[in-house]
């Protein structure tokens, strides 16, 4: 309150005269630095520096007691040409990502449309359907490990009641089904999230357009395909990208439910990075860093590709 020595009237006059102190968009550099300093410090020390260090590590081998040897692109070469587990992990992650993302977006849209159709108790249903989103992967993973259990899991019990005993199997123990069992669990957790976003977008649609479609005797399917989906396009693109990024980095659920097994059938790139760094007792952080760097570049490229593709088609339409 140092400047309150001047009477308010004088200050107001100074402001009218264009005194720079009174322009509230301006502030001394010192003040600005003070506001930004805590964020920038934390960010520099615990985000920027680690990222740079990971890039640095990726071209080194890090031996015991932190002895670092420069190896150039050897890690990347070994990764791309010799590492069969890595490629297995890439295929798994790609399958998981493509199927999971499509399932997420379509399923979320379907659920949102159900609630949009003016069903009774829509608000309550919305709250219940969203609950899995709030649960940790640890909680969700353990519950689903039980549900998939061969002897007493609900999935096999239901199949038994339906007379489909031949379909019963160890869902997480069989390399043929484990990955898809994980996809189902992941969908279960995230569908509610996509549903909420779609629902908000649906409620924001202009009523007149939907009303006009009804007057034109447009069937609900035609209305969905020709009116609702094109108008939801920005939301769709957003959710596709979000869901895509999330699944490319998938770690927790896989780690908790299968640990990447059986026989690498659910190994994702992220679980493989973790294993190479902390579980294989090679104590080399260089090689897993190379995987992380390569994968980050892949994610970036794909996100750019998706947004470019979907946005350029937008431009053609107008």
């Amino acid at each position: 309150m140092a400047e309150s020595a001047a009477p308010p009237r004088a200050r107001r006059v100074a402001w009218l005269a264009g005194d720079s102190i009174a322009d509230s968009r301006q502030a001394p550099m010192r003040t600005i630095l003070l506001f930004l300093a805590p964020a920038l410090l934390v960010y520099a020390a615990f985000t920027i520096y680690p990222v740079l260090r990971t890039f640095y590590n990726s071209v080194h081998t890090i031996g015991p007691r932190n002895v670092q040897t420069f190896v150039g692109l050897d890690n990347f070469a070994a990764l791309l040409t010799q590492d069969r587990v890595f490629w297995k992990a890439v295929v798994n992650t790609a399958l998981f990502t493509v199927v999971g993302t499509i399932g997420d977006v379509l399923g979320g849209l379907l659920l949102a449309l159900c609630l949009f159709a003016k069903v009774p108790l829509a608000r309550t249903l919305r709250v219940v359907w969203f609950t899995p989103v709030l649960m940790s992967y640890v909680v969700v993973g353990i519950i689903w490990v039980w549900l998939y259990d061969y002897d007493w899991g609900l999935v096999n019990l239901l199949l038994g009641w339906l007379g489909l005993e031949s379909w019963q199997q160890s869902w997480l123990g069989d390399p043929a089904t484990a990955l898809w069992a994980l996809v189902v669990t992941h969908l279960w957790k995230w569908l509610g999230f996509n549903m909420i976003i779609f629902l908000a977008a649906l409620h924001a649609l202009p009523e007149e357009v939907l009303g006009a479609a009804e007057l034109d005797n447009c069937g609900w399917f035609a209305k969905l395909v020709y009116i609702i989906i094109p108008m939801l396009r920005p939301t769709l693109v957003n959710l596709l990208v979000l869901s895509f990024i999330g699944k490319m980095m998938m770690f927790d659920l896989v780690w908790i439910m299968t640990g990447g097994g059986p026989l690498w059938s659910t190994e994702t790139v992220s679980t493989y990075v973790y294993k190479r760094a902390f579980n294989w007792n090679t104590f080399d952080l260089g090689y897993p860093s190379a995987i992380a760097v390569l994968w980050f570049i892949m994610i970036l490229l794909f996100v750019m590709l998706i947004t470019r593709l979907l946005r350029s088609r937008d431009r053609l339409e107008f």
């Binding site: 402001w15 509230s24 615990f46 159900c114």
Partner: protein, 276 residues
């Protein structure tokens, strides 16, 4: 007749709604019922309701299985991290939204780019860095890592909201002789409460559930957070389904309680980053 036909047409929809509601909410009710039953009872019939409510299992889990420690660790880490995030994030967001200065675009770009960094790119070197700084295997280290990882999203949400506040308000405050920090403390923060609430819920849920950073950066049993504690207990007592279920309920109880009270706020919070 027509009404009746309409009802018939909607039957599959209603059936689907009921089925999906059971699918989404059922598992939690199931775990809740198991958390009050003993393991022998569960193995007798996993899907029966509790005959006698074994509340003592919660006391047992809290003291004998160390869930009390895990719970407090989680609470300390999450509350401190969320408080720091809110303050630091709001300061940066206020500065970026309010002032014109050289380099503001660069600062914004650098901070917000943190939202697309995969954890794998950070986790390996954070492990080394925390070892170097002597913060490895400490709650303080985990807290600061949590602040760093959630900062980008916090600033993103808050800045979007702060930027929409009318400039007149700040001109008037300046005319009345408010200093820059008074403006932040007495105008931006109180008016920004809805957005701040959103980031608090979002960060609270994400960090309460966080597993990857915690599992890499903590090793002592006395320092484990709840997700780690449950996995640890699960590792040693794979077959004690009843006790694991009790642990799960302890882990989700705060979230469920908050959700029961503020479901709208929490839904808004969790989806805040995706809407705009």
């Amino acid at each position: 007749m027509r009404l009746w036909l309409n009802h018939l047409r909607r039957t599959p929809l209603v059936l689907f709604l009921i089925l999906y509601t059971i699918l989404a909410g059922g598992p939690f009710l199931w775990v809740m019922s198991m958390s009050l039953r003993t393991t022998p009872e569960i193995f007798d019939n996993p899907y029966a309701l509790p005959v006698r409510l074994h509340w003592e299992k919660f006391a047992n889990a809290w003291t004998n299985s160390n869930y009390g420690t895990y719970f407090w660790n989680s609470l300390i880490v999450v509350v401190t991290a969320v408080a720091l995030l809110t303050l630091i994030g709001a300061m940066a967001a206020h500065c970026l939204a309010r002032y014109r200065f050289r380099g503001s675009r660069l600062v914004r770009f650098v901070i917000l780019s943190g939202m697309i960094l995969p954890p794998q790119l950070l986790i390996l070197s954070l492990f080394q860095i925390l070892l170097d700084y002597g913060l490895y295997n400490s709650l303080a280290g985990l807290i600061i890592v949590y602040v760093a990882t959630q900062l980008a999203m916090t600033v993103y949400i808050l800045e979007g909201f702060f930027a929409q506040l009318p400039q007149d308000l700040f001109d008037a405050a300046r005319m009345d002789g408010y200093g820059d920090f008074e403006i932040f403390w007495r105008i931006t923060l109180p008016i920004g409460v809805p957005a701040i609430f959103t980031t608090i819920t979002l960060n609270f849920i994400i960090l309460w559930n966080e597993y990857l950073y915690a599992v890499v950066l903590l090793t002592d049993d006395e320092k484990r957070t709840l997700p780690l504690g449950i996995m640890h207990f699960m590792g040693g007592h794979q077959l004690d389904v009843g006790m694991i279920a009790t642990g799960l309920i302890i882990a989700i109880a705060p979230v469920i309680l908050l959700y029961a009270l503020f479901s709208e706020t929490m839904i808004k919070g969790m989806t805040a980053g995706a809407v705009r």
